[in-house]
Symmetry: C2
Subunit: 141 residues, 2 copies
């Protein structure tokens, strides 16, 4: 994802375009896995804005649907760029490697769930996260 693209995304989301915001979005859009705030800061390195700024930025991106919060770890939040469409994650319980998996019948499950519910009118969001053991870690044992 090139910088100009990031700027467009920010503008479309009515976001003020600053260097920091471009940098963060750029990193997220290139990342193969959801990232924590700490990881973002580290990747940004010396040119990183204040942690607080990253938090506020992500909050703002979340509002506009530019990023999404992934509930894979209970200790810290992970964020990923939404532009790649819907997919899910398998996380290794040994080495914490994360692999992405695409839709795989979840949309069907969603419709089903709504049909079965008698209290809900709509489903606006969902998370489907898997935990397992990767082949590497399986081999080690």
């Amino acid at each position: 994802m090139i910088k100009t693209k990031c700027k467009d995304i920010l503008r479309n989301g009515q976001q003020v375009v600053t260097q920091s915001r471009c940098d963060v979005l750029c990193i997220l859009s290139k990342s193969q896995h959801p990232m924590s705030v700490a990881e973002l800061k580290q990747t940004l390195g010396k040119s990183s804005p204040n942690v607080v700024t990253i938090y506020r930025m992500l909050e703002s991106f979340l509002d506009k649907g530019i990023v999404r919060r992934v509930p894979l770890r209970s200790s810290e939040a992970l964020f990923e760029f939404t532009g790649f469409g819907d997919h899910h994650h398998i996380s290794c319980i040994e080495c914490h490697k994360i692999e992405e998996v695409d839709d795989c019948a979840v949309s069907g499950a969603l419709k089903n769930a709504l049909k079965k519910s008698n209290k809900f009118a709509s489903i606006t969001q969902h998370t489907f996260e898997l935990y397992g053991v990767c082949k590497e870690c399986t081999k080690k044992k």
Copy 2:
């Protein structure tokens, strides 16, 4: 769920049986929705053990698979009794009401996911959580 039943569950899970542990498990097993530590403490009222004790207890229950951690809120962990088998949740983004929904094709999605992955050998756990607007809140608007 009656007290004796809770004791049995604890014993089967090689858990030391104490009053506090019975109380917590009893409350969880009666609850219609996953509960936070704070909520548990409040429900236990005056006879509640120290918060730290509740944390350690739940940690221990998690180990033995007696309870499960539900990632519905990012700010605090929710716990639910596993004895009722597998199901999922829809949480209202307005009023935070939680409804339980049963399996609805998720197991199929799981098999599918594993088949598509080329890095993972097994899936040991999964979460499927839905967010939406309940009928009540829809009406209000």
